[in-house]
């Protein structure tokens, strides 16, 4: 996907209200109540699963185990039926607080490292000449199709030899490696479209390629960087497979998704804990979604070529 198309997409969820008001009148002639009702039905159906977990996470253990979460709606404003005890419990005795912090330790560097590597590489691919340039670039793009499962067994052995299993550095590098082809591809498409003049005038003004990169390329590529950053951040935060294989289930290093999966295994019927645990694992992605909706959608579309 080229930078312009990612950029040029109509503003999707973020600014839709504006577009909708300008185009909807011509489009929805016989719009009527049928469309409204259907949209409402699908919308409700799509919200119920999350709402059920959300409400249950605030109900006392005894209530969750004996009655459906929808029974709270008989007296929705009776606040004595809600409690924070489940959150307190999962965060302390079920190690979810530690897991939450571990997820941050994993996710932030595992987002910044591939972006940095990719931005330098994309810049060099786009604006410098060197031997093997087109060959290397073809290899990078070709690696987009490789499912990460192809790497697991050899890497697991390599990590065993170098004592990298269960270390944060190990999982940063693994996520960086798996995210790099997409990152280089997207950033190359964007950076290579930057106008040529700005580079030439920078050179003539005496900027080195390094300062050109940090002072010009990085600030100008901000939309592409943000889209990929959000895609990679959510991908890593939500990942279970890579964390399970390279970090494992030791509470010192386990991330929230692993911790949640462990909780399902050990306390599969304790719904008051599972629902709270699920929400602990979801809170960061939901915040990212609410605050950065526009970039989130773009990043997601951009990520659709990830193998």
């Amino acid at each position: 996907m080229t930078a312009e198309t990612v950029e040029g997409l109509p503003p999707l969820t973020g600014d839709d209200a504006a577009t909708a008001t300008t185009t909807a009148p011509q489009r929805g002639q016989s719009s009527g109540w049928v469309a409204k009702v259907l949209v409402l039905i699908i919308g409700i159906a799509w919200t119920i699963p999350t709402a059920g977990v959300f409400i249950s996470s605030f109900r006392p253990e005894a209530e969750v185990a004996t009655s459906g979460w929808w029974t709270v709606f008989t007296h929705p404003f009776d606040f004595t039926q809600y409690t924070l005890a489940n959150y307190q419990r999962v965060l302390t005795s079920e190690d979810m607080f530690e897991a939450f912090v571990n997820s941050l330790i994993v996710t932030i560097p595992a987002t910044v490292i591939p972006i940095t590597l990719a931005a330098f590489a994309a810049y060099a691919f786009a604006w410098t000449r060197f031997r093997g340039r087109s060959f290397l670039f073809a290899v990078v793009v070709g690696l987009l199709v490789i499912p990460l499962q192809m790497s697991l067994v050899p890497l697991l052995r390599l990590y065993g030899d170098y004592d990298l299993t269960g270390t944060f550095v190990g999982v940063w590098l693994a996520h960086a490696g798996f995210g790099l082809p997409l990152a280089i591809y997207l950033l190359y498409n964007y950076i290579s479209q930057l106008p040529k003049d700005i580079f030439e005038s920078a050179y003539i003004d005496g900027a080195t390629p390094f300062t050109t990169f940090t002072k010009l390329v990085i600030p100008l590529s901000y939309p592409a960087l943000a889209s990929f950053a959000i895609f990679q951040f959510l991908w890593v935060w939500n990942d279970l497979l890579v964390s399970l294989v390279f970090l494992g289930t030791n509470p010192d290093v386990a991330v929230v998704t692993v911790s949640l999966a462990q909780l399902v295994g050990s306390r599969g019927a304790a719904w008051h804990l599972l629902t709270a645990g699920a929400f602990v694992s979801m809170v960061i992605p939901l915040l990212v979604f609410i605050t950065l909706q526009r970039f989130f959608v773009r990043g997601l579309l951009a990520g659709s070529v990830k193998g």
């Binding site: 999707l12 919308g43 790497s151 498409n189 580079f199 390629p209 070529v305």
Partner: protein, 373 residues
């Protein structure tokens, strides 16, 4: 860039005095990163700070180390290259920029992928031929089930996400508060597979008849006088139940892409069809749908690839029990639980072979729309 510009640029060099400083900084950065990694790996270094404080300090060290460290390495490498004679700097610098990415890609994707292909043929029991793992893969009854399930997923999940996403995208175009309505469909996309698994396990929760049903689906079934259904144990309902959870996630993706495409269909075209007497549904079927064909293919291929690699939903709900296994989950268990590496690599190769044709369709389609490299 033009050679002349490059030459001009190299005259803008730092004074030689800075050589000592640059080298000192380089050594300092490397020592600091090494120390940071030692502290991060150590299990006892931060114990004095207590469990809570220790964790937060560890987080701070880890995040700063990962984020600043990678930049520091580039700055250091660049300053070292700039110490070289001007001509050498020009030749070598691109490799300093591209090199780290290429090295990481080689270690983490290229070499392992080649290794996986080789190992799938060489890691066989004594006296067996090179195709042993593949013969096993296609004759093992447990794997037959996994392959069959992947096929069922492949038929139902992309179609389901596509149809509901398309319907919603078409309908939402004509209601007020469009963006709000879309958000609700979209939210599941940002939830992890493990989270989705918990959410849907709760929906499918089963209690024996007579007990209060706390899962909403069985509550509905019993309120209509039916018997509670163990959705995740009963075959083949359970595989369908997992597919529904997957469709719940993926519909948002389909909806967003298709909605953007539908907005691109010229209004005049739709007006013309209406003037010619076509109804809303006819217009949609005859005018809108053909115009957004490319986006439909994108949604289909992307979802199909996600389906082939589906792991976490299955792992956290049933772990493949009750005949719900899929290839990616099987591969994880062969590798991680049974240490059956030869077989696991063969499964990875099968996954690759299944993904490639869909990827080819995807890339061709993106190209036809003028998108992609």
């Amino acid at each position: 860039m033009p050679e002349a510009v490059e030459a001009k640029l190299e005259t803008n060099r730092r004074p030689p005095l800075s050589i000592v400083r640059d080298l000192t900084v380089a050594v300092g950065v490397i020592v600091l990163i090494w120390l940071g990694l030692r502290v991060l790996r150590s299990e006892t270094a931060l114990d004095a700070l207590g469990p809570f404080g220790g964790k937060l300090v560890q987080a701070l060290i880890g995040i700063v180390l990962g984020v600043v460290g990678i930049w520091a390495l580039f700055v250091v490498a660049n300053s070292l290259v700039e110490l070289l004679p001007a001509r050498a700097t020009t030749v070598i610098r691109p490799y300093v920029f591209v090199g780290p990415a290429v090295v990481v890609l080689s270690i983490f994707l290229l070499a392992p992928a080649v290794g996986t292909i080789i190992q799938s043929f060489t890691e066989v029991p004594e006296g067996e031929g090179p195709f042993y793992n593949y013969v096993q893969a296609f004759t093992d009854p447990a794997l037959q089930i996994a392959l069959r399930n992947n096929a069922i997923w492949l038929i139902l999940a992309p179609a389901g996400a596509l149809l509901i996403g398309l319907a919603f995208a078409g309908l939402v175009d004509r209601v007020k508060r469009e963006s709000l309505a879309k958000s609700f469909i979209f939210i599941p996309l940002c939830i992890s597979g493990a989270g989705v698994a918990v959410i849907w396990r709760f929906i499918y929760e089963w209690r024996p008849e007579g007990q209060p049903q706390i899962g909403i689906l069985n509550a509905i079934v019993t309120s209509f006088g039916g018997e509670p259904v163990p959705w995740l144990q009963e075959i083949p309902t359970n595989t369908l139940a997992l597919i529904v959870a997957f469709v719940w996630i993926q519909t948002g993706f389909a909806m967003v892409i298709l909605s953007a495409a539908i907005k691109g269909v010229p209004v005049e075209l739709m007006e013309a069809a209406r003037i010619d007497g076509a109804g809303e549904f006819q217009t949609f079927l005859r005018i809108v749908l053909p115009s957004i064909r490319g986006s439909v293919i994108t949604v289909f291929t992307v979802t199909a690839i996600a389906v082939l690699k589906v792991f976490d939903i299955v792992y956290v709900t049933t772990n493949g029990n009750f005949e719900t296994d899929v290839i990616a989950n099987r591969m994880f268990n062969e590798m991680f639980r049974f240490r059956n590496f030869g077989f696991a690599t063969a499964l990875a190769v099968i996954l690759l072979v299944a993904v490639i044709p869909i990827m080819v369709v995807n890339v061709r389609n993106l190209r036809r729309q003028g998108i992609g490299a």
